[in-house]
Point group: C2
Chain length 346, copies 2
DNA sequence: ACCGCAGTTGGAAACGTTTACAGGTGTTGC
DNA sequence: GCAACACCTGTAAACGTTTCCAACTGCGGT
């Protein structure tokens, strides 16, 4: 911890000088390779006297790896990603990688830039959550300069690893549950249907309706944004249609819907049941706690990070284009299904 | 985008060969320094043919900066930090820095390790949110190998920049507000009082009580953890004391408390008012929306990042040990202050 | 006395950049 | 027609490591 004479940080050169050995010996000692007893002592003493810390940049340049991983996602500020970020960070940390976070703000060009920036060797690998997948994405992915794991669904044939949620099944789970608890007029508040999640959730909604013998009714479906305010507005519109349940494409929409219901004095779930998706921290926090579909954020984050790390540490070769799917899980809470009554009528 | 002959990534050497010029010329062209018309064209053509991306590691080694900043915080998964992370990320992104996120898990040794790791030159600067500040922290901070901004209060005299919240004043704001709306038995659910936030919030609570002419009553105060469950449990204990308001040291505690109240059929705020702190995304999401004290997370994140960037880009020299304080702001929502009754001032 | 060998060591090259410096060209002014 | 000069270019060093290779030491075996 003593101030360094030469001005800058101590390097192996300073140590070599102080210990009276060559830089090669310093490097060897510091890396635990063979050396004479005395050499080891001299070097270690010099290193600790000078407060030496190895320069990670130089090391990276030499051996071509930074031990950094990039996680690119649309918006760090969105609670829906919290669990995922935490899971990714947990894995990278224990695997000895640092985590670079990159907010793409859901801008396609920014996503592509991240993909290309793999070439600058700043990080050894990338996990990316594209909000939608264009042909440009596919191009950029296939010729990426390093390993990439995509969070989301890729057309088959693209030789890139991916981890996906099954939101079709997930949405269906929720709708079926609502039906099981007696709901028959199940409204649907969806996000933009030109996004992958939007499309899938709609598909699951339709499928479950059909399976339950309910008819799809345009008047009960609203497509809007993905935020709380959008949910509140949409619920307001829908209430004229007298739904007995509102299924929302994510928790934020569901919270907005719940607020609109509260504001009109409707009870949840007695008057209108509410269910969301993502099972974010929000679902557990509110009153009544929100029934939601856990799309496996934590598991997907973990799997994606593990996949990347395995590929990098490359012990067992993984086939390019490995895909993992996290099964959805319905988490029933008080916003649906009053435990006693269960055949309701409108 | 063509495959590279030599196997690896293209470098300025590949370009130089392909363009028939020296690597110096390549470097100059790529950095926009002077060169003959034809040279520029040849180099640029070669670069784009080969799909050249400059190696950031090599560049960092050369000029001693990585254009990376580290943000170390106790827990990425905590919604209270969301706004801050977003703000930091926003600033770093526009300033052209990448953001390294490091979760310390509130472990002191981990925090110290981060501080020391500044010496490895992995990032140019550090923003750190220590959960508490030990003498070891002070030592590590004063001899840190690069610029650091601390989120939180530092003993004066430590020559390190910091950005602090004024949670003493913030807590007082909330308590005074509760008093203004007619509450007289104001309970307090606090986090661990051996943390800086815990201590400060207690101080603010006491000060405001005194100012309002209320006496501090041990029986109305619970010290517990910082999570939702802790809040619910604490509120359960407190209800026997018949408070007419519960002031919580953060939003999570407040949500827990609100849940406990709901579960016992008590109305918010008619029977018991509830207020929290942090004004996290949670406060806006729940029903009833939660009165909370915005401690300026966004502003602190922004200020901290700006401070760091300014120091690094070093145009205007900033005195070491600069301190910024973000003023707290009371955000009144429906969980307090039934709109009819009032003698309010805030 | 010599060879081979294991154990250590130092010199030097390499990773991919940037940049100081010197050398080369062509142009201008006399 | 020649000096001075601007301009452009290439060589080489540097950043801080790791690692290949050759050299040196001391040793035991022949």
């Amino acid at each position: 911890m003593s101030p360094v004479p030469g001005g800058g940080q101590p390097t192996i050169v300073s140590i070599a000088r102080q210990a009276g050995v060559s830089i090669a010996s310093v490097s060897r000692v510091l890396n635990g390779l063979g050396a004479r007893r005395e050499t080891v002592e001299r070097v270690e003493r010099a290193a600790s006297e000078l407060g030496y810390v190895p320069n990670a940049v130089a090391r990276s340049l030499k051996d071509g790896r930074t031990r950094q991983l990039t996680f690119a996602l649309p918006d760090i500020g969105n609670p829906a990603y919290l669990a995922m970020v935490r899971a990714v960070q947990g894995v990278t940390k224990t695997a000895g990688y640092r985590l670079l976070l990159h907010s793409t703000d859901a801008v396609v060009d920014d996503e592509l830039a991240v993909l290309r920036s793999l070439g600058d060797r700043t990080s050894d690998g990338l996990i990316i959550c594209p909000i939608r997948i264009t042909d440009d994405h596919i191009d950029a992915l296939t010729c990426a300069a390093g390993p990439v794991v995509v969070m989301g669904s890729l057309p088959s044939g693209v030789p890139v690893d991916s981890v996906r949620a099954d939101s079709v099944t997930g949405a269906a789970l929720a709708v079926r549950h609502l039906h099981d608890t007696g709901c028959r007029r199940i409204a649907f508040i969806n996000g933009p249907s030109d996004t992958v999640p939007g499309r899938n959730r709609e598909e699951g909604y339709r499928a479950a309706l059909a399976e339950c013998g309910l008819v799809y009714d345009d008047a009960l479906v609203v497509e809007t944004g993905f935020g709380i305010e959008a949910g509140a507005r949409a619920a307001g519109e829908l209430l004229g249609r007298r739904p007995d349940a509102v299924f929302c494409a994510n928790d934020q929409l569901a919270l907005g819907a719940a607020r609109a219901l509260h504001a009109r004095g409707l009870r949840i779930p007695q008057d209108v049941a509410v269910a969301g998706m993502d099972d974010s921290v929000l679902a557990r926090s509110v009153w009544p706690p929100l029934t939601s579909v856990d799309l496996g954020s934590t598991e997907r984050g973990r799997r994606a990070a593990e996949l990347l790390v395995e590929r990098l540490d490359g012990t067992a070769p993984i086939p390019r284009g490995t895909t993992a799917t996290a099964p959805p899980r319905l988490v029933v809470r008080a916003s649906t299904a009053p435990p006693t009554e269960n055949t309701r009528s409108t």
